[in-house]
Symmetry: C2
Subunit: 173 residues, 2 copies
Amino acid sequence: MKLSEGVEAAIHSAAMLARLEGGATMPGSALAEAFGLSPSYLLKHLQALTAARILESVPGPAGGYRLARPAETISLLDIVLAVEGPRPAFRCGEIRQRGPVKLDASAYARPCNINAAMLRAEKAYRAALAAERLSDIVTEYETQGDPRAVAASCAFVTQRARPQKSTATRSNT
Amino acid sequence: MKLSEGVEAAIHSAAMLARLEGGATMPGSALAEAFGLSPSYLLKHLQALTAARILESVPGPAGGYRLARPAETISLLDIVLAVEGPRPAFRCGEIRQRGPVKLDASAYARPCNINAAMLRAEKAYRAALAAERLSDIVTEYETQGDPRAVAASCAFVTQRARPQKSTATRSNT
DNA sequence: GTAGTGTTACTCGGATAAATATTGTCCGAGTGACATCGG
DNA sequence: CCGATGTCACTCGGACAATATTTATCCGAGTAACACTAC
């Protein structure tokens, strides 16, 4: 039972993107720099999130990624499934039928008890993941997190964010 | 989130061993044959279960494996942890500290919110797995399972089981 | 007939290769911003 | 001075290796049963 390493990066990226405002975007390279990851690899997971309709990608200069839905409607389960795939962790291979004893197919009509038990547990896992909303994660972080870390990440977001339609301050030339 | 293939084999093997009576044992080769698996590979997982004090191994002829504890005290969590390892699926790499922003270590004293959320969900998963006792699995199987399949597996167990101290029937000779 | 003894076959155990999935990297296509040129 | 246009740099997207984990296999150590021999 090993969870992909990229899940952590995906959740952190989504949490940072959730702090953007007004449809602003942030390039994947900035996210990779924020977490000390190789940009090319993080892109792979961001693409998976985009394919799952969790993120939106804006191409071109001043482009980047942005949440496709409000953070309130995104759960950790959505992110995990997008990165790891929708298949359950325990996949019953029906080894009970592979023995030397050959029975009629009707004898295996009932699902495997062991598979059912494992899926029950996994259902509880997914329910717990679904209960963890991205908005709660961000709120909890901004509220209970260390003020210095929050300020630093907020500054990073402000610095690297790309407004939706070049509303840049343009202080100088 | 992919669960090892051997977990299924381990649980099925444990469930079959739970149906033995009076300290009888069953060799790993019989278990492998029952599920159509390569004996050498199944042995690896049975060894893991033995190392975790879930199974007992009896060497020599007429030897084999046997539950080390009553089935009521064995949960699916025990088996999963024995095969997959005790480490949690989500392992926080503290990527929040790997960014270019260097803060004092005290800023990261509080645990990562994302890690905490993932561990909460995994805690629910483990609790659900711990609630699934091996004895319940076996009872449910014998009660609600297809009678033909139950009879066949019971016959297999009776045929391949090795009594504890050669109490063989010795009908002829 | 009984006890002792050597052999034998069967078991588990750990160390060793192959296959697969994950991780990491690279290059190409697309797009909007910017500078330049013309009116 | 304003607009159109061409160039460019930056972005994402998918295809290609390297590594780690999982899967599968083999060979060796140990043990108790079995057969044989001696008494």
